[in-house]
Symmetry: C2
Amino acid sequence: MINNQESYYTDVDKMHVATDCIVFGFHQDELKLLIFNRRVQPHKGGWSLIGSFVKLNEDVDHAAKRVLRDITGLDNVFFEQSRTYGNAERDMGARCVSVAQFALIRIDEYDEELTEMRGAFWYRLEELPELVLDHYQMVIDALDILRRKAKHQPIGFELLPEKFTIPQLQSLYEAIFQRKLDPGNFRKKILSFKILNRLNEKDRSSSKRGAFYYTFDHDTYEKLLKSGYNFDFL
Amino acid sequence: MINNQESYYTDVDKMHVATDCIVFGFHQDELKLLIFNRRVQPHKGGWSLIGSFVKLNEDVDHAAKRVLRDITGLDNVFFEQSRTYGNAERDMGARCVSVAQFALIRIDEYDEELTEMRGAFWYRLEELPELVLDHYQMVIDALDILRRKAKHQPIGFELLPEKFTIPQLQSLYEAIFQRKLDPGNFRKKILSFKILNRLNEKDRSSSKRGAFYYTFDHDTYEKLLKSGYNFDFL
DNA sequence: CCAAAAGTGTTCGTTTTACACCCATGG
DNA sequence: CCATGGGTGTAAAACGAACACTTTTGG
């Protein structure tokens, strides 16, 4: 069957298809990006996003998950397509179209040893080294999409540990949007969505009084979402 | 040079890369989509989006513009990437990744004869025929992105003629969002952005009194955008 | 003169913003 | 006992939804 139909396309150009992952993490009140020090040609020694070519029988989405799993040991990660980079000249090596996808990971869960063994490291967004090809543009674009999304849906929870405090959540949003938020107003807004469950447990690492831990109530969120509820932060 | 570097990638799979265009137009208070009746295999006789394979030395974006120009005669059209469809099984014919892009066109400007000669026709969104492959999903996804975008930036102007009235603009937004809007409130909101210039000319085709024509002030818009101004419709 | 669409104004309730204030507690 | 961050309350301003009202003009 495949061979039969394939015949329609025989005179059509073929090219490499890659996927590059913009992997965001959040640690110590800072947004971090996972980047990769290339140990082989091309661009040996340069910094790049983690990525891979897509195999003939592999979904593009799957390729991204495969790469991230190989490097961090993590599975079941939040992934979303960013955009596709298809300029003819973008990779001088060969014609190669790259589908960029961004991931949000809980930085406390990944396998640090495995990651470093593979040549990947976390960098603060503000102090990224130069990146290979158009990878810096990919980061910019993904950040833009992340910000847009974060404004209208509670996407940020993907970046925090299972249980977190409201001040932690606030500092994540401050990192994403690059501006200070009012603690009182932020708390009221977030709680008004009623998608957080308070635990009977406090985090005392950043104050004597301690801040209650919360968990994200995925079920209630889905319900509200389906009922057309609007989650507009800020 | 190319041949030299190409050697790094010799063992990497290659595949077809296509682009499909979701072409929106606005006419008689209705959102319309340009679709294409296939005259050759595969899927001969079926309805599909207009699209093409990307050539080896051609930017992906360029391929979309080329297709649209060939079919409608239009150039300089608003284009934006939607998303990329990369499932291994999406086209039984052969492995083929498709980058979907949507276009907004002023329906009064295209070349009707050329378009029909090429087998393409405008359909109301509500009465689309069945589309081949995953093209229907592409339409759904593009609509979703269009709606999101339209909410936060004055994208709709791409779909109207150079000069338009506020009631016309309103009916466009009603078509995009599929709901009635209050004329008074809509007008105030739009005018508050101060990105419309009123002409000393009226359209009397839909009322005795006539409605003033406006043009979109692109320069002021860009300025406000850069200064961080928020355009939130609705 | 009147129907009908264009355009303006007013009201009222909600949301946002800024900020004052109370709480809990380890050092 | 007090500095510090957690958490609550509140008043003023801004905004949005609903709707009444005025304007214009061809038939």
